[in-house]
Each structure stands twice: as structure tokens, then as C-alpha cells.
Amino acid sequence: MEFISQPWHWSISGAMIVVVMFLLIYLGEKFGVSSSFRAICSAGGAKKWSYFNYDWKSHDWLLVFVLGSIIGGAIASTLLASPQPVQISDATIQDLAALNIAAPQTLSEGAGFVPQEIFNFQFLTSLPGILMLVLGGFLIGFGTRYAGGCTSGHAISGLSNLQLPSLVAVIGFFIGGLLMTHLLMPLILG
């Protein structure tokens, strides 16, 4: 059990993602999570717009997969919880301290995988909180569906199937991510 509970080496993690991708292909589907947003909007009654006027039940398997991932998260955070905080580099800890974000803590001390300064409802009542969580979420939904995929569909499924549009999308992911991390976030959190 201890072998599973401790944080996994990146090579094990990467290999396990390939296992998940293989299982989805074997079951007749493919690895790509952001399509679930489209399916939920369609199931929720957005069919008057043509993008959502499709048979969302063809994605019922993905909605069940997503439900499973929530359960998996609950299992991993309880039965398989690591006793250590996330082991990020000292350089990152120092950079984040300049943004008033404390170093990672364990779940019993603080908020575990996420910074407690950001992931709380109190922060949502401030402008930086609305930008980080509400605008951030909006851009994830808008951007992944515009690009036609997210980390799973483009960066992993697409790149490993040698798809040029996926490489362009991943370049976009980094343009946006680097712009936010190095230029915009210091303005939002500073």
C-alpha cells in the first residue's frame, strides 16, 4: 500500500496515463476529457445552438468516466493520501512567495494540492478571485472547445497520433500559460 500511497515517479505516472488511454481505446472510445463540457451543455438544454444539437448520449461513456474520476479523486485523497506535501522545487516556492502564495502543505496542515490563498470561497468575493477562478474557468471551457481538445485530447492523444493541429494547440497552451504565469499573474495577485 505504501508503494501506491507515496507520490509516484513521473515515469510511472506517464506510463499509467498510457494505460488509461489504452483502456479507453480498447473499450471503443478515445482519451479526451473536454468533450464532456459540450455534452453537459447539450444535455442541459442548449440544443437551440447547432454546436450543441447533437446526440450527447454518444458521450454518455465520457460522463460516466468523469464521474469515476471524481470517485477516484475521493479514494486517492483518503485511502491513498500521501503524508507529504507536494514536493515542488525551491525556486518555485520562492517565486510564489513573491506573489504571497505559501509553500505547499499537507492536507492536515493546509489545503494540500492547491494554495489555500486561492481555493476558498472568501477569495471569490475579490476581483483577483473572480479573475483567477471564474475567468480562469471560463477560458478553460471556451479555449478547449475552440481548440477542439485539452491536455488529454491534444497534448497526449493528438501528439502521440502525430497530429499537426494538436502540436499547434500545445504551442498555444504554452503561449497562454507563459503569458499568464510571467506577465499577468503578478499583476492580478500583486
Binding site: 481505446i25 468516466f65 470517485i71 499537426l164 499547434v168
Partner: protein, 137 residues
Amino acid sequence: MKLLRFLLVGILFGIVMTKSEAISWFRIQEMFRFQDFHMYGIIGVAVVGGAILHYLIKNGSFKNINKEVVTFADKPKTYMASLIGGTCFGLGWAMTGACPGPLYVLVGHGYWVVLVVIGSALLGTLVYGILKDKLPH
């Protein structure tokens, strides 16, 4: 019964995302600051392993559980959409420290404020669907 299999694969995915620490806002910040190899190692192994998987499946007439020969559809060659949409997603990924898969997994961890992020993502999807024909692809 068929859907139960996807539930089990989803549970495995939730555990993998957690134990890999790919769901951690801190790890995504570290990645965009190029301060550790961790996330690059995960994605790199997944892409190289996935490429081998795709190669073996394409060249081996691999049949899925429904006894169908597996084929892979090409991604649409809408490069403007990939670039602009991808950049929008990158901005959001750096802010929330989560891509769509980890967003769901974080809910399972009991970070309830992430439900607001998912709600916003659904709103973003809705707006894309409404504007789709007016946007460059």
C-alpha cells in the same frame, strides 16, 4: 454494464491524476516556470508511450472489445482555432492550475470552490458554441 467499465477506468484516472500530482496548482506553476522536470516527464512519457501504442494498434489490426478494427480519426486542420483556442486555454490553465480532467478530480478531493470553476468552464463552452460560426477557424 458497459458503462460500469468506464466508471472503473475513470476511477483509475482519478487516482493516476492524484498520485502523479498533475492535479496540483503548484506543479502547473512549476511547469510554466521551467523549474522542474516533473510535468514534462509525465507528459513526455505519456506522449512517447502513446505514440508506440498508436503505432502498434495501427500496424497490428488491433480489435477492440466490440471486435472492431481500431482506426484513429485525424484532428480537423483548423489551425487558427488550435492556436487561438489553445492560447485561451493556456491562460486559464495557468490561473486555475488545472486542465479539464484534474478539475473533476479536485472535486473528488472536496475542493468545493472548484465547482465554480467547472460552472465557469461550462459557461465558456456555451459561449463558444453560440459564437462558433463567427470565430476564425
